[in-house]
Symmetry: C2
Subunit: 214 residues, 2 copies
């Protein structure tokens, strides 16, 4: 039993390592191929274990997905809150938010939403939506709300609703990525281009009028 305890402790440590490896591997695969496009055998194979061994660490395929999602959204929340708090100027905040999302989450956001809607059991939808709101929707909407209060961002009246709509639009703009963009310089240029688009649109007059102030 003493030997059993020792090996069980080591086993637990290895088990935790394996668990992390499963999450990391599954994340890359899920983001590339989608939930249905990744089999548990594929995840196991990529981790160097057999498929039934997965079920020693997780009760089912869905729980791997949810754990991965929870980890990602917790990290996203921390990062976005830090960016929003540390920047004073709207355009700089937008550029840094966009750069962060392009670099750290270089995948299709709508595949994610699709998988959550169609592959994850409905009982988890509300939880996931709250994760998403606090990780992404709220920090970005906060930024726009501050802009509306300062008068730099347009609002038709209801500041909070307009800020949320803009936050939704920002995510849409980032939803489909040009996968060719990879270098730091290219990402930075793309972030600047998108931030300018979100602020001033494609009209030449709005850009010329507003660019003079900065």
């Amino acid at each position: 039993m003493v030997k059993g305890k020792r090996s069980s402790q080591l086993g637990a440590e290895n088990g935790i390592e394996t668990r992390k490896k499963i999450i990391k591997t599954a994340r890359a695969l899920f983001m590339e191929y989608g939930y249905r496009g990744v089999s548990t055998r594929k995840i196991a194979e990529s981790c160097g274990i057999t498929q039934p061994a997965l079920y020693h660490h997780f009760p089912n395929k869905q729980s791997i997905y949810l754990e991965m999602l929870r980890n990602d959204l917790l990290e996203m929340k921390t990062s976005l809150q830090r960016i929003v708090q540390s920047c004073d100027e709207m355009k700089e905040s937008l550029e840094r938010i966009i750069y962060f999302l392009l670099e750290r989450y270089p995948f299709n956001l709508h595949q994610l939403f699709h998988d959550i809607e169609h592959e994850v059991a409905e009982e988890h939808h509300e939880t996931i939506q709250e994760w998403w709101r606090s990780a992404c929707q709220r920090p970005i909407a906060t930024l726009f709300e501050e802009g509306i209060e300062k008068g730099t961002i347009y609002s038709e009246g209801n500041n909070q609703i307009d800020a949320e709509r803009y936050s939704f639009l920002l995510m849409n703009v980032l939803s489909q990525r040009d996968q060719r963009l990879r270098s730091r310089k290219e990402l930075s240029e793309q972030a600047s281009f998108l931030a300018t688009f979100i602020l001033y649109g494609v009209s030449s007059q709005s850009r010329l009028t507003t660019n003079n102030e900065s």
Copy 2:
């Protein structure tokens, strides 16, 4: 042989009707659940036929998907070209394009791109990309190019490349839909909101400056 000919003609007509019904049904299912989320049995069931009967009309599942895609993109091409040609004012064109896409294709565009990339055989990718470019990318880019030439749309120098980038952004903005919007009035308001966003962004100054002219 005469009787045979007659019954074969009627059979062919019924066959064509069934084929159209399969395409129409498969379209709705594929757009809601994605390629992998729809089984051939589900398609057949929704058409009121058995699953093996599908293989009388199509050699395989993929060919149903490709036929549906080709039909949709041919229709989209005609409609978008008509809108672009019939409108003189940029904002009106944008609103009508957005309204058309929201109403006629109320699904997630990125699920479509994902399915094409991961589920359709690579030999068809180039063909599909050309369908997409001529149906959507080119008509919308043409609109922005005209705006750039008139001076109303901003360009950093290369008009054609900037117009294509804007066309890509417009599709991104439309990629994720608020499924609650359904009535004609709501769609119309959403189209106006999005067209204004694309033209002037979220900055209050760019909107106030430019709104006075219209």
